[in-house]
Symmetry: C2
Subunit: 394 residues, 2 copies
């Protein structure tokens, strides 16, 4: 029967392009995710135009990144997260403060008024955990201390970014800042994360000891329901969906079905995550960046975005040693789709022009392409250095 | 960060409703799929209105049923399909002829002109393989002869339905029927199925013996690419996407990775198929059927649809014995989303009214709800009868 399903062609093209990109990346000794993003840029509207972002593909991408962070949560134990709590908190706070201050100064220098500069700077702030999480998973280093710190800091980062966005939006609208209201919003978000991270984990442990909820129906279906439910809830608390998905994964990792779930999540990632990374790449608008002035401006803001985040992350994690602190700083660098979302808000609110929008989007995506090879290189060095130390001491 | 993602709420509600429906169905000793369709009807616009069909959900549903038929193909060996070829062919042909003739007569009796009657009858014809495939998989009887015949007949059925739709559309537009053109279209579709079913299988066997294509990259990714690619291609040949997906599954089942793939497909089905069945249920418009006359008309056309398909399937498969022939006939009964698609075409072409459209849609969906319990009951009896025979003879 004829079904008019050219969406199937889109899905096929995206999926195959992602695989081809991943394989080429592997040949070039780059992380696969770089190949997938590059594939998106090539088949997207900028170059070949074989696919264009559409609502269904956005939804598939969202499901993909939600599942990705769920699976990362599955590999993360809450107790180990607590152990790195202080470092993660410092990285989260400094990793927001540095880019915000430097971003404000750059924007003011570029001619924006102070209140608009604060809005522009907000787009410099938020880390996109998806890219880094994927690289850490690909490298098989999710169990390392640096990875824990990065993931914990990403949660803090998301809460602070929400706070900042609330403040700069109010300033932009010329409203007085209602400190009580902001405190309430942040309090709710923190409460949500803590309630799930601490209380929820206890419930998960206790109830599975009595073989309760996870025995009704298949564990996978329950875990997926939990993942979708918490992903949605976290958007209701002003946080990214992936934060809720990550927490859901951590809850599920406290149940006896953890290994089974880890196994079953792999095919889901294989099907769904390509849509996220290809879509990320497809959003890079090369034509917007075709003149020298724009390229210079892009180089400047990308450098500011990278260095400020690296510095904040490095200082926050210095207690782990310089090598590890560098890894943490680099791991926090990608802005990815989060920067794109804030840039869209700024464009919609009339805070900045189409050119500034294109610049911020390009900067966000560029940080996402630059980070994975750096991270992969640093981890290789770090692992080698550890081995050398062991040999010397042994 | 704030992402405006109320689609996540939709996904959560659909997914949880499907699980609750499936569990309730199991308690009532009905196939789970009935519970999922019923859940869709309850949360859909007809009753609670917690979700409404939207483009992203349609796409998720399409991916779900494509993956379902892929996994059914994985459990189907081409050699076993060939063995039941003659029965499948007869079931396909008679299962199209009976509903088409009876549907035409009913429509003419109901006051349609002959050419419009033929169009209405086309909506009686096509079997939706998704519902039956899911029930057969749920019952664990995909390896049985009756299941092979049903699946083979579904392919024939789809080709003939395409042919019929081509003819009635031409008649409707007052065009002369271009026999050569129609023969070409059908020839292409048959060629596509044969090329993949026979030639493709040989290539799959030969190349995996030399460990070629399925060793580049993960087998799952390659299989998924094949599945999406053939699903798309089959729509280009005028066939349903699920036919291509089913063929892709049969190809993959000839590779040494078959068991691994069967395993990895399960989580994909758990995530994606609920969207298909819940959406099927959500499309049932109860309000359209609220008066006695409409209900009577619905009862009539549903009875015609069920009996004509049952008779055609039964006669076509009579060589397997009466019990098995009954199972085959019942297995061909669901019209599901295929009937809905043809009804939409008829509505768009102005061939029939909104009421006739609602009737045909309701009939299509009703056949999908009625079939699963019948099939489950018949297979239980059949299995019991076999066992009794064995005991008597033993």
């Amino acid at each position: 029967m004829p079904h008019g399903s050219d969406i199937l062609l889109d899905l096929f093209v995206i999926f195959v392009a992602a695989r081809v990109g991943a394989i080429l990346a592997r040949v070039l000794r780059l992380p696969e995710v770089v190949g997938e993003i590059a594939a998106g840029c090539v088949i997207g509207p900028s170059l070949l135009g074989w696919m264009a972002p559409s609502e269904p593909i956005e939804v598939l991408a969202e499901i993909g990144v939600v599942l990705l962070l769920f699976s990362v949560g599955l590999e993360t134990r809450i107790d180990e997260m607590k152990r790195v709590g202080r470092s993660a908190f410092q990285v989260g706070v400094l990793g927001v403060a540095f880019p915000f201050v430097l971003g404000t100064l750059w924007a003011h220098g570029a001619g924006f008024g102070w209140d608009k500069s604060l809005f522009v700077a907000a787009a410099f702030v938020a880390t996109s955990a998806g890219i880094t999480a994927r690289v850490l998973q690909e490298l098989g280093v999710l169990q390392r201390q640096e990875s824990r710190v990065i993931l914990g800091a990403a949660v803090i980062d998301d809460i602070l970014a929400m706070l900042l966005l609330g403040i700069v939006t109010a300033l932009q609208a010329g409203e007085a800042i209602d400190v009580g209201q902001l405190a309430l919003i942040v309090g709710e978000a923190v409460g949500f994360v803590l309630a799930i991270g601490l209380l929820g984990t206890r419930i998960a442990r206790a109830s599975t000891r009595r073989a309760l909820p996870f025995s009704v129906g298949s564990p996978l279906s329950l875990a997926l329901a939990l993942c979708l439910g918490l992903a949605f809830l976290s958007t209701k608390f002003g946080l990214a969906a992936i934060i809720g998905a990550f927490l859901a994964g951590m809850l599920a990792s406290e149940t006896p079905q953890r290994e089974e779930l880890e196994h079953q999540t792999q095919p889901l990632l294989a099907l769904m995550t390509p849509f996220f990374f290809v879509l990320t790449g497809a959003k890079i608008e090369l034509a917007q960046l075709a003149d020298t002035n724009t390229l210079l401006a892009l180089a400047t803001i990308t450098a500011i975005a990278l260095v400020s985040k690296l510095a904040g992350g490095f200082l926050g994690a210095l207690a782990l040693g310089r090598r590890s602190a560098t890894i943490v700083g680099v791991g926090m660098m990608p802005r990815g789709e989060v920067g794109v979302v804030i840039a869209s808000l700024g464009l919609a609110a009339g805070v900045f022009s189409a050119r500034t929008y294109a610049l911020i989007v390009a900067m966000s995506l560029l940080t996402s392409v630059i980070t994975p090879p750096l991270l992969s290189f640093l981890f290789a060095r770090e692992i080698k250095a550890k081995n050398d130390d062991l040999e010397q001491s042994g």
